[in-house]
Each structure stands twice: as structure tokens, then as C-alpha cells.
Symmetry: D3
Subunit: 254 residues, 6 copies
Amino acid sequence: MVTRIEKIWNEGGTVVNGWLSIPSSITAELVAGQDYDSIVVDLQHGLIDYQTAITMMQAIKAAGGDVTVIARPPWNEPGIIMKCLDAGAWGILCPMINNPEDASAFVGACHYAPKGYRSVGPTRAMSIFGPDYITRANDHVITLAMIETVEAYENVDAIAETPGLSGLYIGPADLGQSLGYGVQLDPTSDNMMAAIERIRDAAKAAGKKVGMHCMMPDYARAMANIGFDFVTLGNDFRMLTAELNARVRSFRES
Amino acid sequence: MVTRIEKIWNEGGTVVNGWLSIPSSITAELVAGQDYDSIVVDLQHGLIDYQTAITMMQAIKAAGGDVTVIARPPWNEPGIIMKCLDAGAWGILCPMINNPEDASAFVGACHYAPKGYRSVGPTRAMSIFGPDYITRANDHVITLAMIETVEAYENVDAIAETPGLSGLYIGPADLGQSLGYGVQLDPTSDNMMAAIERIRDAAKAAGKKVGMHCMMPDYARAMANIGFDFVTLGNDFRMLTAELNARVRSFRES
Amino acid sequence: MVTRIEKIWNEGGTVVNGWLSIPSSITAELVAGQDYDSIVVDLQHGLIDYQTAITMMQAIKAAGGDVTVIARPPWNEPGIIMKCLDAGAWGILCPMINNPEDASAFVGACHYAPKGYRSVGPTRAMSIFGPDYITRANDHVITLAMIETVEAYENVDAIAETPGLSGLYIGPADLGQSLGYGVQLDPTSDNMMAAIERIRDAAKAAGKKVGMHCMMPDYARAMANIGFDFVTLGNDFRMLTAELNARVRSFRES
Amino acid sequence: MVTRIEKIWNEGGTVVNGWLSIPSSITAELVAGQDYDSIVVDLQHGLIDYQTAITMMQAIKAAGGDVTVIARPPWNEPGIIMKCLDAGAWGILCPMINNPEDASAFVGACHYAPKGYRSVGPTRAMSIFGPDYITRANDHVITLAMIETVEAYENVDAIAETPGLSGLYIGPADLGQSLGYGVQLDPTSDNMMAAIERIRDAAKAAGKKVGMHCMMPDYARAMANIGFDFVTLGNDFRMLTAELNARVRSFRES
Amino acid sequence: MVTRIEKIWNEGGTVVNGWLSIPSSITAELVAGQDYDSIVVDLQHGLIDYQTAITMMQAIKAAGGDVTVIARPPWNEPGIIMKCLDAGAWGILCPMINNPEDASAFVGACHYAPKGYRSVGPTRAMSIFGPDYITRANDHVITLAMIETVEAYENVDAIAETPGLSGLYIGPADLGQSLGYGVQLDPTSDNMMAAIERIRDAAKAAGKKVGMHCMMPDYARAMANIGFDFVTLGNDFRMLTAELNARVRSFRES
Amino acid sequence: MVTRIEKIWNEGGTVVNGWLSIPSSITAELVAGQDYDSIVVDLQHGLIDYQTAITMMQAIKAAGGDVTVIARPPWNEPGIIMKCLDAGAWGILCPMINNPEDASAFVGACHYAPKGYRSVGPTRAMSIFGPDYITRANDHVITLAMIETVEAYENVDAIAETPGLSGLYIGPADLGQSLGYGVQLDPTSDNMMAAIERIRDAAKAAGKKVGMHCMMPDYARAMANIGFDFVTLGNDFRMLTAELNARVRSFRES
């Protein structure tokens, strides 16, 4: 089985990624019913824990056959990374990868021996991906390392070269905060753009993919246009807030 | 304690009501953080059951002191109506009230003897509304009867006159379906408008309030302008869908 | 299997009953770890729905082998009564039994044909009570009818005589409200005591048991002393509140 | 959209139905991953409530595109029947339909006006079945009435003729208990077989489908061979018990 | 926004802290409805995991505007510490801080760069504390380090001096066990009192606050009198047990 | 209290262990109702998180008094190990113990000072095991280290000699994968058998127990016959799958 992400990347396209912060299989199914290529279940800043995340992964699968499920664990910790993979995530987006050691530990947790140290026991994964899951997973599981601190920025080339890593992913809020530029979403300032392009180039130089955390369609399109292979487009929590705000304000001001 | 709904109605204003269909205390708190006057927890068409509804009522209270909580039960059945009131709903919006007998049964379930037959035991309600809850509740609990079938439409005057009933509420989807005009949201056709005004007039003639289920701000404003005392403004499920649709489509078409 | 309630009643003793209003298997196990003879899972005024109630029934069983589990449904409705029995409640305490018809419908819902109309399918009950559950249940399931309205009070003799009914149970809050004496817990006024004794006598005359909803040990003891066969002793929600109140007040005043 | 059940019936085949009693989206997905044509989420004797049932319906959809989801409500009560349909059940299997009035009430609850009195608001159903759900549902929703009491047996012809009813379904445990033959699963006694064939013939005479609740493959095959259009094949709770029993006993005896 | 804890400390007062061990939003709201200044949601020894903890934090907010929410994570692990802060905890009480390195890691996890390494993404925190949360949090989030082992005791001065740490908190059960004095609650023995005062003095010398885990009002008052700035007063699980014990024993002995 | 495991081991017998992967208190009670001596709640590869695990531990206790509860944490991480013990697990089966340092950290997390560094606060454990739990636990808690990697295999003697460790447990899937023999369940190949016997002998030489993860009764019996003290016999997820497969296939092929 080639996942939708792989198919798009094989054709040189850009993956459009949805984002789940609300702990609910109902909103997960609703988001997955849109025309996203992949969806991140966010166990870090999302208000979501593992037990709920499983029902959300089921709901994403319910909404459409081929959307690729990615989980973001709370931290680079093997226990929860492996649990997410066993539960049916096809990829992991790992926060706070600051140096090559972090990256190796992360990639190792996502692969079975001899490539890594992932423990064998893919209860739901084998049930939904088929009996050959264990042999296939090592070659196809997607691993994205978040570059979001000064330390990571300084180590970006070495991180990008980590064997088995699929790509880098920029978290602009943390990155801006850590670089001293302040928290910015959909940033366009010169200093942030320079950093973004630096990270993109490091990924490309290492033959890896690069992703960007975006909020609005125009910004995501601009990122795709400058070579990003993976763009997140908003999240459920902020989108619901935005639409609520707009409607109530519109009524109150009428 | 005078609730926000009562305060607005005492001043001749229109209540702006939010609507919860997603079974989550997170979305409930998010919706309640907007500038709504009241919020309906929908146990009928919403994907919500009683146990989840309690955490949602807590979340609404968490978001702001004085938003009035209303529950819509799945049906005119005393067990669930009383459970919702005990759990802290200050009002009940009851579906499918088709005749004065339905209305009396509904109103009776919301009031303690001798006004009605509500059973005494307001576990959370007394805990949050105070030790005098039992004596105050009978005079202040809000009861809204949904008018949404041909039978209800024909009995609208008698229903409106039910002692203890606070008001009527129009469900345009069901009403249109039942009258043979088809399912319409924010309807503006002549036949629907005639029905809507007929129901409004019946409420007013009986000295009762009247509410309308609306989706968009302009329509809700128009309903307020023609005398509606209570207008719902969208629901969480549809708003999230709308915003998701807009962003993904915008990206895909760019 | 003879349940603890039956054993006590066979020896002429008084059952001491615990009461669960908090929707949690943790508090259920904690309460069941005390020296109660039976425990009511309150799906009416307790903040508890069916799915949670099952885990609470499991927790009661976890805490001790022979405590008898009783469920109070939200209303005299066969669907939820049968679900509670299937889930492992050995008895049902039914609210608002106002006349012999109510009582017959209630008792019928608790017994298999030909005694009643309970549907066969005791999924958890058979699993925990054994393969002969279906044949034994009809003779041993406990059915307690709450007498708590004027109408019930006037029909108390006829209700008590309902074949298959185990006994009557007094809800003093509702009964006082309905009789016009006001809501009283652990009531001692002459008018309430007269009503209480009238109901007790009706039960005894019909050869049935009689229970009383009590809060404090002294009151429960007094009720046992005047012939009550079953006394509830407080509930989890109120006990926790009382102890919290006492400690915080004590500190604040020190 | 033609559901898998309809497709099979249009071709004169027999539907093989799975059955869910365990309240878990994990077991639901596992069962739905087998080669069943339809699956019943049992909210009556299963240990399942509405909120859990939704996640189970999502899990069934996750497991495979075209398995038809059917819900069994706890009782013939419109509130829960409509909630199950709104949540995405394509059919309802209603217990304890004892006479034509029961059957009409049941069928009415499953259809929109003017065919019935189902309330409009298919939150998840429209989201997963498409925007034309409301118009299509009335012609395709499946309604199966359980024949499981003496009264139902005596009224079986009239029940079968109920307009809009899809078919009859035999619950042999209840039927045997009510007819005085005792509780039997996969019954083969002459008296039970006579009753089963009588019900089958009533269904056929009215141009309706007929289903049977079976446990073992051989029995289900035999029922298919004598004309049953729908056979249930075991349930998750009993199958897990059987396999556990077999393995532990085998070890203990070795 | 100045939190209630800060306000009290600015005025030189003692914070009275409640404690949640039961995994339930209902008991959380009940406890928060008492006159506590702050409340700890205990994810370590409490029977509470993250997903439940969120609903409990919502319930605390529902009960009263200004009670400060503190979370105790299971261990000094950045993933769960950051999740608790994102979910709306205003402070963290961290177990098992045994040396300055532990303390620095803990404090760093609670602050954004450049003070620490907390990841930016305060989903619920920003929603409830306002858009300036990120800039304010670094100066106001409360960090309390538990001193409860021999190692910690020996390093107490260095721990207390950790920049950004708000204070020390004594867990007498662990401390007594580790010091070889045995597990004691509300300890008054000379050796325990000497240790307690030693820790208090270390905190004061470093200009930090100091808290004590107490059970009974008199003991908490005594601790406040000898300079403790923060006293916990019992926990929900033990209080409910105590009151249950008292009532059942009183009845059984009457 | 001597647990069932200890009793069997004291008599030289083999413990038969059940295994829970499905996150449900219902399946937990069902499995525990079989004649198993102990049951593992699998928080690693099972689809189970801590909050659900508690209800499962309660359900195991509900099913029978003396079945020993063991938890498998996701990783060798003290936070979750201690939470499982506090919640009522009597033993811990720890994955991926690769060297003596891992083993010491694991054993230390399971014992109170001075033997280890477990934090004192056994909320449920003390409630169910009695007030002397803290003093008894250190001598009786069961600690099983999983040997499942090349590194562990090479260090097996040193791991086995870890003071306080109860025994070793073989995970054949991981072990085979790591040794390069491939994933095998119930392995019988020469190379796997050699490795299995090597581990068994290391345990015995150190005076420790040894356990094996088995699927089928014959294999488990064979392992018991060659000296294994603890054999797991299947898991809920696979057993349900097997039985479903068998019945559906049998029908489809008939």
C-alpha cells in the first residue's frame, strides 16, 4: 500500500494537511471529510490524549479511505510514539528535535530492528494495514522532525541528514519565540522568512521533504510555491473560533 | 438570581442563542466564550448524550458567569427532561409539541408540585444555583415548545396558551417538511414566512415569547426585527464545516 | 444464590443502603468498601447515565462480594429498567409510582414471561450471576416502588398489593413537596411522620417491605426502630460536601 | 446509494449480520473487519449506550466502506430511534413489536413526514451519506420488527403488513420464553421450528423480508436454506467467551 | 491578571489549597465550590489522567472565577507538564525534585524561551486567559518543587535557589519514608518537625514560598502559623472515606 | 495477603496468565471470569491508556477475588509505572529491559525507599489491599523484565541478577525480530528455542522466575513442561478475531 502522502510526493506535489486539536471523534470525522491529504492528531498542544486519539484515528479512516494519519506526540518519548504507531498512525510529527541525537532517537523509535528499536506489537495497525504491516512499515512510515528552537536551527543540516528521517517541519510560533523574533503565525517578516528558507534548503540539500505550519490558504499556497512539500492549513479549534467570532460579531454589529 | 435571558426579555431585547451539536466540553467552552446570551445543548439532533451533556454544561459555566443554559431533550419524555434540569439546565427546549396535551405534559415535567410533577432532587442545580433553588425554580425555569409539524401548527393557539409555558420556538426544517414546503434553513419563501408569522402572532397573543432557529446573522437580525424574542445563530457542527470548506476550497482552487 | 438483602430480610433485619450520585467507578468502589448491605446507583437524580452506571456496578462488585446492587432508573420506562437489570442490578428502585397501573408496568418490566414482559438477554447479569440466572431472576429480583406524591399516597394500599412487588420506598423530599408540607430531609414533623407511618403500615398490611431515604445515622436508626426494613444512609455527593464544608470552615474560622 | 443489504436482497441473497454487545469502538472495528454484510449495534441487551454507539458506528465505517449499520434501540421509543438514525444507522431493529400499533409507531419514527413523524436534523447521517440524505432516507431506511412474544406471534400477519416495514426478525430466546417453550438459542425443537416457519411465512405473504438471530454457522446456513433473508451469526461477547473458555480449558486439562 | 494565589501572597497571606484525587468533573466542581484559594489536580497519585484532568480544570473554573488551578504531573517529564499548562493549569507542583538539575529542568519546562524551553501552543490557556497569555505566563506561572527524598533534603538550599522557581512543597509521606522516619500524615514528631523547619528555612532564605501537604484543619493552621505560605487541606478521596466511615460506623454501633 | 501468583510459585506451579489489549472494562471482566491466575493489562501494545486501565483493574477484581493484576507500561518510565501500582496493579511487566541499568531503574520504580524510589501515595492500592499496603508492597510486588532485544539477550545474566527483580519474561516477536530470526508467535525453530532456553537458564541460575508469551494451549503447556513458571495464554483481541474468522468463514464456505 502506498499512502496518499507518498503518492503525492512521488508525483512532486504538495500535501495539504488538516489539524486536530479538539478531543473528539466527531470533529475528527468532520475534518477528515474535507479534501485534505493527511491529518495530524495533535497530542502535544491539542487537548487530546492517547485513548481519545484512537477513536479519532478510527474516525479519520471512517471519513475516507486514503487520508494519511499522522500523530504528534507530546514529546520525543518512545512510549507514546510507539503507542501512536500501533494505534494506526502512519506517520509521526515529533516536536522539539534540537540536534542529531534527538533525531536519531526519534527515528529509531519509529522503526523496527535492525533499523531502530520500535517494539513489535502493532495491534490496530496490523488489523487495518494488513498482515504484512511489520515488513512494510519500516520502509514507509513517515517521520517529520519539528525545527522550532535556536538549537535546532543551528543543527538543521545535521538533523536533516539523519538516516530514515522523512523530512523537517517548521513550527513558526516556537521558532520565532526561540529566535527572539516573537510568536508569529503565517509569518512574513524578513527575519522569519530567512529562517524558513534556511530550513527548507537544509531539507532539500539532504534529499528530504519540508513542511510548514500554516493557517490561511493564501499563505499555504505561497509556501507551496516556494517549495514546501507539506503545508498544514489551519486547525479545527481556531477555525471554529474564527467562524463563531465572525457570525456573532456580525449579528451584534447589525 | 435573574438569568441573562430574563434580564434581556425584561428589557424587551432579543436573546442571541448559541447551539451545541458536538459532544465535547472543549467545543462547548469555546462556543460559550463568544458573546452569546444563552446556549442550547442539543440532546436531540446533536450527537450528545446525558453524561457528556453534563460536562458541557460545566464548560458553559466555566466560560462565563451568566450565559443561560438550555437543554433540548430527544423527545417529550419526563425522565430525560428532569435529568437535564437536575444537571443544571435553566431551561428546556422541547421538540415535537403537537397539541395542548403535549405542552401540558412538558411544562408539568419542568415544575415541582403543585405546578407540575417534577421530582425533587436537583443535585447539581442546587449546588450551583444555591440552596433556594427549589423554591425559585418553579417561577423562573424557561420552557420553550417547538412548533414543527402540521398538527402543532393547527394547534398553535392552544399550545401557546398553556399555563407555565414560556414561549414557542420554530424549527423551520421540520415545519417545512411537515407542511409540505420542503426542508429549508433560514427560509424566506412566502409560504414559510406566512407560517412563521402565524406562529409568532399566536405566541404574542398569548403573552408568550417566540424564538426562531436561524443560521446566518442577517437572517437572525431580520427575525429579531419582526418581533422574535430569541434567535439561534448557527451551530458548532455547521460552522466548523463551513470554515473548513472555505479554507480547503480556497487552497485547492488557488 | 441468596443476596445479602434477602438474607437480612429472612432474618428480620434492616438493610443499610448506600447511595451513589457521583458518576464515577472510583467513588462507587470507595462507597462499596464501607459496610453497606446494598447500594443504589441513582440514574434519576444522580448525575449518572447508563454507560457510567455499568462501570459503577462493576466497581461495587470489585469492592465486596455480596453487596446487593440496586439501580434507580430516571423514570418508570421499560427500556432503561431492563438495561439496568441486564447490566447486573439485582433490584430496581422505581421513582414516581403513583397508582396500581404504574406499579404493574414497573413490576412487569422486571420479570420474564409469564410473570412479566422483561426481554431475555441478560448479557452481564448471566455472566456474573451464572447460567441459571434467567430461571432464578424471576423469583429473586427486588422491586421497590417509590411513594412520593399525593396520588401515590392516596393509592398506597393498592400499590402495596401489586403482585411481585417487593416493597415500598419513601422519598421524603418529593412526598413533602407534593403533600404541601415542603421539602424536608430526615423529617420529624407530625404531618410527615403521620404520612410515613401510613405508608409503612400499608406495606406491612400487604406483606411487603418498606424503605426510607435517610441522611443521618440517628434518623436511620430511628426509622429502623419503627419497623423500616431498608434504610438509606446518606449519599456520596452530600457526604463529600459536608466533610469539605466542615474542614474548610474549621480552618477559615481558626 | 444502494446499501449492501439492499444490493443483496435485490439479488435474492441472504444477508450475514454481525452483532455488537461490547461497548467499544475497538471491538466494533474488529468485528466490522470480518466479512459481514451488516452489523447490529445493540443498545438493548448489549452493554452499549448512545454516546458509545456513535463511536462504534464510526468504527464500523472505518473498517469497510459498505457494511450496513443497524441499531437496536432499548425499546420502541421515538427519541432513541431517531437519535440512532441521525447518528448514522441505516436501519433499525426494534424489539418487542407486539401488534400493528407498535409497528406503526416504530415505522413512523423512522420516516420523515408525510410517511412518518421522524424529526429532521440528521447531523452525522447527512454528513456521511450526503446532502440528499433527507430525500433518500424515506425510501431506503431499513426497519425490522422483532417478533418475540405470544402477542406478537398472534398478530404476526397484521404486523407484517404494516406499510413501510422492511421485515420481521425472530428473537428465539424471548419467543421461546413467551410461548412457554423455554429459552433456546439456535432452536431446533418441533414447536420452535413451527413458530419460526409461521413467522417466516407471514413475512413472505406480506412481501417482506425475514431475519433470524443465530449463533453458529451451521444453524445460520440452515435458516438461509429455508428462506431467511437475513441471519445474524453470533455476537462479540459470546464469541470471545467461547474462545477464552476453549483455550483455558484446553490448557487446564492438558 | 493577577491570580488569587499571587494576590494572597502579595498581601502576606497563606493560600488554602484543595486537592483532587478522584477522576471526575463532578467532584472537581464540588470541591471548587468550597472556599479554597487554589486546587491541585493530582495526576501523580490521584487516579486521574490528562483527558479527565481537562474536564476537571473546566469544572474548577465553572465553580468560581478566581480559584487558581495547579496540576501535579506524574513525574518531572516535560511532555505532560506542558500539556497541563496548555490545558489551563496556572501552576505546576512537581514531584521528586531531588537536585538543582531536576529543578532547572522542571522550571525550564514551565517557561517559554529564553527563560525556558516550553513549547508555544497554549490552546485552552490562551482561550481562557486571553490573547496576551504567552507574554504574561512567563512572569506569573507558579512552579512548586516537591521536597520528599533524602537527596532532595540534602540539596534543599540549591534547589530553593533555582531561578524562576516559585517555592518548595513538602510531601511528608515520602519525606518520612525516605528519611527513615516512616510514613506520617500531619506529622508532629521531633525528627519530622526538624526536617520540615529546615526545608521552610531554605525556602525563606532563598526568597521563595513554602507549602505543606496537610490533612486536618488544626494541623494546617499550625503550619500557617509557623510560616507556611501554602497549606493543602485534605483531599477528596480521603474526606469522602472519612465521612462514609463515620456515618456507617455510627449507625452500626447504634 | 499472599497473591495467587505467589501461592502458585510457592507450590512450584505454573501461573496461567490472561492478556488484555482491548480498552474495555467489559472485556476485562469477561476475561477475568475465566480460570486465569493472573491478568496483564497491556498499556504498551494494547490499545489502553491509564484512565481506562483503572476501570479494567476494577473489573478484574469484580470478576474474582484472587486473580493477580499485572500492568505492562508503555515504556520503562517511572511516572506510569508508579501510577499503575497506585491504581492497584500488584505487578509490573516492563518492556525493553536491555541492560542492568534499565533493570535497576525499573525495579527501583516499583519499591519504596530505601529499596527503591517509588513515591508514596497508593490511593486505590491502599484502599483495596489494606492499610498495611505500604509495608507489605516492598516485599511482594512482582517485577518482570521483558527480554526482547539482542542487547538484552547479551546482558541476560546481569539483568537476571538485579536485586529485587522477580523474573524475566520473553517477548518472542520482538526477540525474533531483533535477533534477525523474524517475528514468530509460539516459535519452535531451533534458533528461537535455543534463545528461549538460554534466557530460561539465566533466570533459573539467578534464582528468578521466567515467563513466556504464548498464544495456544499446546504451546503454553510445552513451555510449562520445560520449566516456565508463567505462561501467557492468548490475548482478547486475537481470540475474538480468531473466533470471528472461524465462524464467518465457516458460513461463507458452507
